[in-house]
């Protein structure tokens, strides 16, 4: 077999390209430390939601869906409207299409009603992380529960384990998807899309490791609680002025 000078260059070039592709794969799977300016150890993210400020406009749901390309009919955050007629009976809860277009107006003034925005609680002791058989979901060093889309098998264990119903199987990738607390934004100094677009400031991104964060004052002086505290998940989404009927 004759190898001309031309062949040699062509083959050499192909080998070079393949080698460089190999190198990038190595970088993707390897441990490139995330970001230079952002230090994960300096943050511990969570959220504060004030029920008395929520007007149920659904801006957060729309913003989340646009920011994160959430598939239609699936929600990383949603808003529920509670209507409590009789404390002894279960409340009426509705969330038409996740409240992505707000709510049809309710005129019932004879009962207690309010809005409850919901999202992943970014639990520090998260049941969803504990059940993952392959290490595809985890609590990041800065306290955000994330999914490794390249590792997820789509077994749905975590979807069932989440006590707050915050996970879904993405219909196109068939991997589990959930709120990332806009990790791509908060690690660049921005707030989450839902907090950015909340017109009344009912949602606030909080950083528990920042001593200047107003959350410390609020936790000390206000009535705050998390959803389902009896699950002992150490949820980090705190609610102000939350009614006891909310589950």
């Amino acid at each position: 077999m004759d190898i001309s000078r031309r062949d040699l260059f062509q083959i050499g070039g192909k080998i070079l390209v393949l080698a460089s592709v190999g190198a990038t794969l190595e970088q993707i799977t390897g441990a490139a430390p995330p970001g230079e300016a952002y230090r994960m150890a300096d943050h511990w993210w969570g959220m504060l939601i004030d029920i008395e400020k929520c007007i149920g406009c659904g801006n957060c749901v729309r913003a989340c869906s646009k920011e994160n390309n959430v598939p239609q009919g699936y929600f990383r955050t949603w808003v529920e409207r509670y209507e409590i007629e009789d404390e002894a009976k279960p409340p009426r809860v509705e969330s038409p299409n996740g409240a992505i277009d707000g709510f049809p107006p309710s005129t019932r003034t004879d009962l207690k009603s309010f809005f409850v925005p919901k999202l992943c609680n970014h639990c520090a002791d998260s049941p969803c992380v504990q059940v993952c058989p392959v290490g595809a979901t985890f609590v990041s060093p800065d306290g955000v529960v994330l999914v490794d889309q390249t590792y997820c098998l789509g077994c749905r264990y975590c979807v069932q384990a989440c006590p707050y119903g915050c996970r879904y199987l993405h219909p196109e990738t068939n991997t589990v998807d959930k709120c990332t607390l806009c990790y791509h934004r908060i690690t660049q100094g921005l707030t989450t899309a839902c907090c950015e677009n909340c017109p009344t400031g009912a949602r606030q991104l909080v950083d528990f490791k920042n001593p200047q964060d107003p959350i410390h004052e609020i936790l000390r002086t206000q009535m705050v609680q998390v959803l389902k505290p009896y699950m002992a998940t150490r949820a980090k989404v705190y609610y102000e002025n939350l009614d006891g009927a909310v589950r």
Partner: protein
């Protein structure tokens, strides 16, 4: 060779097979599991970068205010002072990156105002709300109110 106990010879071959299987398992495991797996916990640290690579859609307040300080002034004087630009105007990170290539459309006023200000018993009582049909008689909100500073 001295036998340890009666018929112990038949254990040697399975033991060898098991050893070989173990070696193969460990070899495959080292080849498959990424090097940094377990650096921060039982997961692949590269996943953090993967999540961070997601593009940003909402540029954020500060980006808007770099150019639009006249609108910001009008808004700061009114009740909408703390409503972010993109809460009404939609995601405009592309516009912030290249203003001439992505010119934003004006929001549809009819739905926009109503979503927040339509009367609903579940809304906080101190929040300004109207029954649109009775309030405006079919006129568009911005016939009377200026959206950046809605006071008449």
């Amino acid at each position: 060779m001295r036998r340890w106990f009666r018929d112990s010879a038949h254990l040697i071959r399975p033991a060898l097979v098991l050893m070989a299987a173990l070696v193969v398992f460990l070899a495959i495991r080292t080849a498959i599991v990424p090097k940094a797996f377990g650096q921060y916990g039982h997961y692949r640290p590269g996943a953090l970068d993967l999540v961070r690579q997601h593009p940003i859609a909402f540029a954020g307040q500060d980006a808007c205010l770099m150019c639009h300080d006249d609108e910001a002034k009008a808004r700061a004087a009114g009740k909408h002072a703390h409503v972010a630009c993109e809460a009404c105007h939609g995601p405009l990170a592309q516009h912030a990156d290249d203003p001439s290539a992505h010119v934003p459309k004006l929001p549809e006023v009819a739905n926009l105002c109503r979503r927040c200000h339509e009367q609903d018993a579940a809304k906080p009582h101190n929040f300004p709300q109207v029954i649109t049909a009775e309030h405006s008689g079919g006129a568009a909100c911005n016939d009377c109110h200026k959206p950046h500073n809605p006071h008449l």
